[in-house]
Symmetry: C2
Subunit: 245 residues, 2 copies
Amino acid sequence: MVRAMTQNIYDNDAFFAGYSKLARSVDGLAGAPEWPALRALLPPLQGRNVLDLGCGFGWVCRWAREQGATRVLGVDVSEKMLEHARATSPDPAVSYLRADLETYEPEPNAYDLVYSSLTLHYLLALDRLIASVHRALKPGGSFVFSAEHPIFTAPSAPGWQDAGGRKIWPVDRYLAEGPRTTNWLADGVVKQHRTIGTYLTLLLQAGFTITHVEEWGPTAEQIAAKPEWAVERDRPPFLLVGARR
Amino acid sequence: MVRAMTQNIYDNDAFFAGYSKLARSVDGLAGAPEWPALRALLPPLQGRNVLDLGCGFGWVCRWAREQGATRVLGVDVSEKMLEHARATSPDPAVSYLRADLETYEPEPNAYDLVYSSLTLHYLLALDRLIASVHRALKPGGSFVFSAEHPIFTAPSAPGWQDAGGRKIWPVDRYLAEGPRTTNWLADGVVKQHRTIGTYLTLLLQAGFTITHVEEWGPTAEQIAAKPEWAVERDRPPFLLVGARR
């Protein structure tokens, strides 16, 4: 069987240039407003093994080491991002591997935490990956991930619309799972729209216990600091999930 | 502490008259398109005890007896609906109780299944009820419910809008949980909007294991029979959840 490789948009020059300027690229975890909520889902990492799927510039890999993780492996399909990750604070306990998550098979029974930030919505074979994540965890290990929220990815024409002074998010095709092509940082970025129900069902089918489901929006404090974020509470941008093997 | 009682809209004459004409009132379970999906989540009922919260006309109570349930209790706040339920196929193994689910405390360790169809989105004190459902179940017992989907309940101005030939559902206020007043069958019907994350978090906090999460839309067969339902796949009307004590 031939599997399609996920579009590797992060190695597109225009996309990479744009992505590199985002707050979450320049400022790292401090520039990712959902990070405090996601971090709250992580187990203590002292002495633990961590796998980061879609590690990008390696911010979470380095953070995991600061928390005392023994061994950290960051996997990403983007050579450009991994080059940057490898060049930043080299650490013999942190490895980076270029691999396509459509087919990547991590070492079984090896990890206490598998983490993935804003990556799973690019994948076609998510059922396969989630099953392999379950195998890669030690019993009792945690899988924590974020993904673009399905309300965000569903529309055939995403974008805020004016509705008599209010802004509304034009939902359609919510139950029509499959590819969505958007022009975010570059033209023709392909994401896979899936419902919350599907994300959770894939976890349950793989044998996970669901421990946390959060539809993330900015906090009152974050909105006070950046009032333009208030609209994100009208339509959550991210889904945060915790599960245990 | 004084608790607000949920609005008992089903005993409003205009609402009751309208509700009584719906397919799900006239045809019972055959008139509820989500019933096959919800039924698929139920455990075998032979010899089991069942509690139905928001039992309405008692369709599921009677069905549970047909499946061999030993004892069935239907609870509802609507006197009009319970009168109808009691008058239809009286059965000594089926009891009906009028109670406000904001304060109702079912018998502990008594039930193999607690079921609730399209009721929980009327309740203010849902955390209290879910904790009491957990206590009411025997260990290993199932809690299966449907509720209006949060995408359906979120908007400040719900209703399909035309967007250049497509229909879109105008989502706003998704993360602003709380009351929503709509004019469905009667003016001023108050529902409580909650996110999927909140429903699932309340279950986890009460000690439940989540076993199923489904964002329901009509099947291809149902749309072939009723083409006007196709739009319901653009914005799911119902959330179906299964959990185990």
